[in-house]
Symmetry: C2
């Protein structure tokens, strides 16, 4: 069972995560954090050695939540290309579960010119996503479902780039149009690497 | 001829633009701005009524610079699809001309949860980009170079999303790989809408 200290720590992280995600590291003040957690500065720093440590924990929490929402319960899908389509559909139709949009994109943009620890965590989150998608493509090639010569890294990068860029447009426009456009375009891309099995 | 006041104003904007682009609106302090411009607070506020006004001018300056770098001197390209390929190539090979990456993406992420004026300007910048690309696609359809039924908005959104998302990955990874992958994937997309004219 979690200790009282651990429970408080987790509560602080859960309250801080949407703030950092919406406002960025610099835009999130100690006052904001105190208001969101209902704790004094000393109460927060009893659990975290620095704002950077809290921001890092908050990012881990936010990314974990988004990944679970976007990948959970699709294990039943049969076939690599169908699995990729399901993951794309899920991203297009599901919010990140946290105010402020995708924590990976927010932190990537926020930390690319500084804050090495957040940058490292964003890189790690990106790498995990790439690895998961590449593994699906590789499996599809082995199973004879995806054309030989397809570069798994290229497919993974294109899916991530198109979805993240479309999310940026969608949030700016306040409509889902760009995300639906991304799904259609990625569908064309998947058609182009899929070996036609319509003969059966 | 520009007045002395106008010249100073422009110098402040040029010095502030990379700072806002790298650090975001909240992350850019008055101290940073004073250091970069070599002016006191009063010297800056003689030319701008608020930090928000300066940030808005800095964004316009940054976006204008990026757009010029990424669209200049490609008028000589013949054909709509070739023009789209040239614009994609230029984006992939050219930096934004300003420390901190693409001002549109940075401001979109920075302002999507606040700062209505910056958000409005980012929307406007996005809309301009979409309009330019859509016009090229529409021209290609009229000229019989691009398939009828192609949705110009979808092509425009996909190009923008894929390039911006790939730039995010590239900056995080510190390599050009994701941008090159995006170019290859967008090439496949353009092949799929182009009417084959290889017969001649």
């Amino acid at each position: 069972m979690a200790s009282k200290g651990e429970i408080t720590r987790q509560k602080i992280v859960a309250a801080a995560a949407p703030l950092f995600n919406q406002r960025g590291y610099e835009g999130c003040s100690m006052h904001d954090l105190m208001e969101a957690t209902g704790l004094e500065k000393g109460g927060i720093y009893r659990h975290f050695s620095s704002k950077e440590e809290l921001a890092a924990e908050a990012f881990r929490y936010a990314l974990n939540k988004a990944v679970k929402l976007r990948t959970g319960h699709i294990d039943g899908v049969h076939g690599s290309v169908a699995l990729l389509r399901s993951l794309i559909k899920r991203f297009v139709e599901t919010r990140s579960g946290l105010a402020g949009g995708c924590p990976l994109m927010n932190t990537a943009i926020d930390a690319d010119d500084g804050n090495p620890e957040l940058r490292r965590l964003a890189c790690e989150g990106l790498r995990d996503w790439q690895t998961r998608l590449e593994a699906i493509v590789r499996q599809g090639i082995r199973a004879g479902e995806i054309r030989k010569g397809t570069v798994p890294r290229r497919v993974a990068n294109t899916i991530i780039a198109t979805l993240e860029g479309a999310l940026m447009i969608s949030r700016l426009e306040g409509t889902r149009t760009a995300l639906e456009d991304a799904r259609a375009a990625l569908g064309v891309l998947l058609d182009s690497i899929q070996i036609n099995q319509s003969a059966n």
